[in-house]
Amino acid sequence: MKSHYLIAGLIATASGMAHAEVTMERLLAAGSEEEAGNWLMIGKTFDLNRFSSLDQINSGNVENLRLVMAAPIGGMEPAGFGIGAMQTTPLVDDGFLYLSDPWGTPYKYDLTSETAARPVWICDTGIDKDPSQGILLANRGLALSGNNVISVLPDGRVVACDSDTGDVVWDAQVATEVGEGFTNSPQVVGDKIIVGQSYGDWATRGWIAAIDANSGEELWRFYTIPEPGEPGSETWLCEQTGNPDCWKTGGGAAWVAGSYDPESNLVFWGTGNPVPMYDPEYRPGDNLYTNSTVALDADTGELAWYFQYTPGDYMDYDEVGPALLVETNIDGEDRKVMARFGRNGIFYTLDRNSGAYINSVAYVGNLNWTEGIDSKTGLPIEYDPEADLQSYAIGRITRAGDTATTCPNIQGGTNFFPTAYNPELGLAYAGGIEGCSDLSVRAVDPDDVLPGNIFIGGAGVNSGEQTGSINAVNVSTNTIEATLNTPYPLYGGVMASADLLWAGHLDGTFSAYNASNLEELWSMNVGTSFSAAPITFLVNGTQYVAITGGGLGVGGGLAPELSNMQAANMLWVFALDS
C-alpha cells in the first residue's frame, strides 16, 4: 500500500508541477516562436490580434479536423436575466488550459494526455450566485500573472487563484458602489492588472482601474464619465434637465479588456454607450468619454488621447470592441495604427500614438444612421458641435414620440466580439450582425432610476430579419477584401491562424475558412451556441483548436427560430485526424 501512496503522491506532484511563471517577459514574447504553442492572453498578444503562426492545421488539411476532447463546464446557475453567456476565451500554457464560467469561476484542465480534458482544479471564489440580480451574466476570460490566475467577478471583486492548486491567493473588492461589477477579462501589464467596470446600463458610472498584481490594492482609476469641473464634463448638460446628477448614472462602461502598446506604454480601452441609451433628453450633450477609445498611461491612468465615434448617441453604439494594434503601410508611409470594427458599422483606422483619424470604411451591408464620416475629423458628417442633442441621418428619437429605424442593429455591426488581424495577409476580421433596429424613447423619472436596475430609457427592437456576416478588411488599403454572409448573426469572436480564419456560430456550428477569401473549408455542428472566440495551441507538439460553447444568451433574440436551443456550457477541442 505504501508504494501506492508514493506513486499517487508523485502523480499529484507531477500534475501540479509549476509551469514556467507567466512573467511580463513571456507576455511580451507571446507572439514569438518560443511561445507559439501557448495562448497566454485572451488576445494571444498585447495587440489583441488573435493570430497564431501555427500551421500544422492549414487550408490543405483542415477538412480532416475532428472533435478529440470535450468537457462540461459549470456556472449554469441563472441570474435575473437568465443563464449567463459563455464568452470566455480560454488560455493555454504548456498543455494546461484555463477558462472561466459565466460567474467568473476559473477552471484548469489538463490536456497533456491528448485523450481527455481532465479538470485539475476549480477555484472557489465564494461568489454568491444570487438569482435576484437583474444582470446580463457573462465573463470574457482570465489572465495569467506570475503563478496566479486572475478573474474578475460580477459582484465587483477581482480574485487571484494559485495556478498550481486553485487556492485563492488574494481577493479584492475593487468595485464598491451598488450596481457595479465585471463581465470582461482582466488585462495584465507588468505588475499591474487593469480592470473595467462593466455594468453601465445598470445606472452606474464607468471606470477603468489598475490594481497591484500581488495584492489587489488599487493603484489608479480613470472615470469614463468626468465629474463636474473635470475636462469633458462640459459635454454633460445635466443642469438643463433639472437633474444635475445625470452624469452619475451616465454609463460608459468598460466591459471588454483593452490592448497594450509596450512602446508607448499606453493601454487602449473602449467605452460603452451613454445611459440611458435611447433617451438623450435625459443626458444632453456629447457625453464624453462614452462610445470612445481612451488611451491611458499604464503606469498612471492619465488620459493620453481619446476618440469618440458617435457623440451624443441614441442608437446604443457602444465602442467597447477590441482595438487591434497593427503596423501597416498607408499611402506609402509605415504607420503604427489602431484599427477597430465599430459597433456603428464602420471600420476605423487611427494613429495609435495621437488618436488622429486616418480613414474608415463601412463594413455592414446596410448602414443608414449617417451619410458618411468626415474625412478630416473622423466624426459623422451630421455631427453638430453646437447642438445639445445630435440628429443623425435617421432623425432624432424623442420623448414627444419621434421614432426611427437605425442600421446596423443596435447590437452592431460587431459588439464585444473578439476580432483578429493576420499580419501576413494584412487583413482584419470580424463577425457580426446584418440588420436594423426600431428605436423609441420612454422617459423615466430620475427618482425612479436606481443603480443596479437596468436603465435604457426606451426600446431598440429588431426591425425585420437579422442575418450575419464575416468581413475581412485590408487595413493598408482601407477596403473590404472579402465578405461572407451567414444565415444567422455572428455573436462571437474570430481567430486567425496561418492561412485560416475560425468562427463559432449561434446555431452551434464551428467553422474554418480560407483566410483570404472566407470560403468555408470545414465545419461541424456540436449543438451549443457560440458567443466566444476560439484559440489554437500545441500539446506535446500537436496543434489543437479549442472554443467554448453555451446558451444563446442575448444573441438568441436576434434569431428567434433558434429559441429552442438549450444551454450547456462546454469546452470543445479539435485536432486533425491522425
Binding site: 437568465g82 437583474g134 450596481g179 446600463d201 420612454r442 443603480p451 436596475n453 426600446a459
Partner: protein, 174 residues
C-alpha cells in the same frame, strides 16, 4: 359571466368573441372555484412564470425588468378586477406582448372563442409558461394581496419577494 368591462380587448377580438356566443364558457368561470394562495402565487410570479421579466419584481413595470423583455404595464395601478386578471393571465392580451398561460387557451375556444389561426399575422398573443388553474388563482391572489394598490415598492417588499434580505436586486432600495 360576461367579459369584464374593464378589460380592453382589441376590437377585432371583441367583435369575434361577441359574435361567437355559442363558444365554450370563458375559463374564468372554472377558476373561480379555487381560493388562491398569495404565498404560492408569489413563487409562481417569481420563478414559474418569470412575470418580473416584463412587469418587474414589484409589478410596477420598472423594478428589475429584463433588458431582453418588453416593458409590461404597472400592475400596482391596474384597474383590472379578479375576473379580468384571470382572463388576461389565461388568454394573454391579443395584439400585445402579454403571453397566454392557459395550456388550452386557443385550442377549444375558451379564450374569446378564438384559435391562434383566427388572428391577423403578428397579433396572436405569444405562448407563456403554462399555469394550471390553481396557480392562476394563486397568482391573482398574490397580485391582489401584495401588489395592486401598493404604491411605491420598498426594500422590505423586495427582500420578502426574493426571500433574501441581502438580495442584490434590493440593494438600491436600502
Amino acid at each position: 359571466m360576461p367579459l369584464s368591462s374593464t378589460v380592453a380587448i382589441p376590437l377585432a377580438a371583441l367583435t369575434l368573441a361577441l359574435a361567437t356566443l355559442h363558444a365554450p364558457p370563458l375559463r374564468a368561470q372554472e377558476t373561480d372555484q379555487h381560493i388562491g394562495d398569495p404565498e404560492r402565487g408569489r413563487v409562481v410570479y417569481r420563478s414559474v412564470g418569470y412575470c418580473g421579466n416584463c412587469h418587474g419584481w414589484a409589478g410596477d413595470g420598472k423594478s428589475g425588468t429584463n433588458l431582453q423583455a418588453p416593458v409590461g404595464p404597472n400592475l400596482r395601478e391596474t384597474p383590472l378586477d379578479t375576473a379580468a386578471l384571470i382572463e388576461v393571465i389565461g388568454c394573454g392580451r391579443p395584439g400585445s406582448a402579454m403571453p397566454y398561460h392557459d395550456r388550452a387557451a386557443y385550442r377549444d375556444g375558451r379564450c374569446f372563442g378564438m384559435g391562434l389561426d383566427d388572428f391577423a399575422p403578428g397579433n396572436a398573443p405569444p405562448r407563456g409558461k403554462t399555469f394550471n388553474d390553481r396557480d392562476v388563482a394563486n397568482i391573482v391572489a398574490y397580485l391582489e394581496t401584495y401588489v395592486i394598490g401598493r404604491g411605491e415598492p420598498t426594500y422590505e417588499e423586495c427582500a420578502e419577494f426574493y426571500d433574501n434580505p441581502s438580495a442584490r436586486a434590493c440593494a438600491g432600495l436600502r
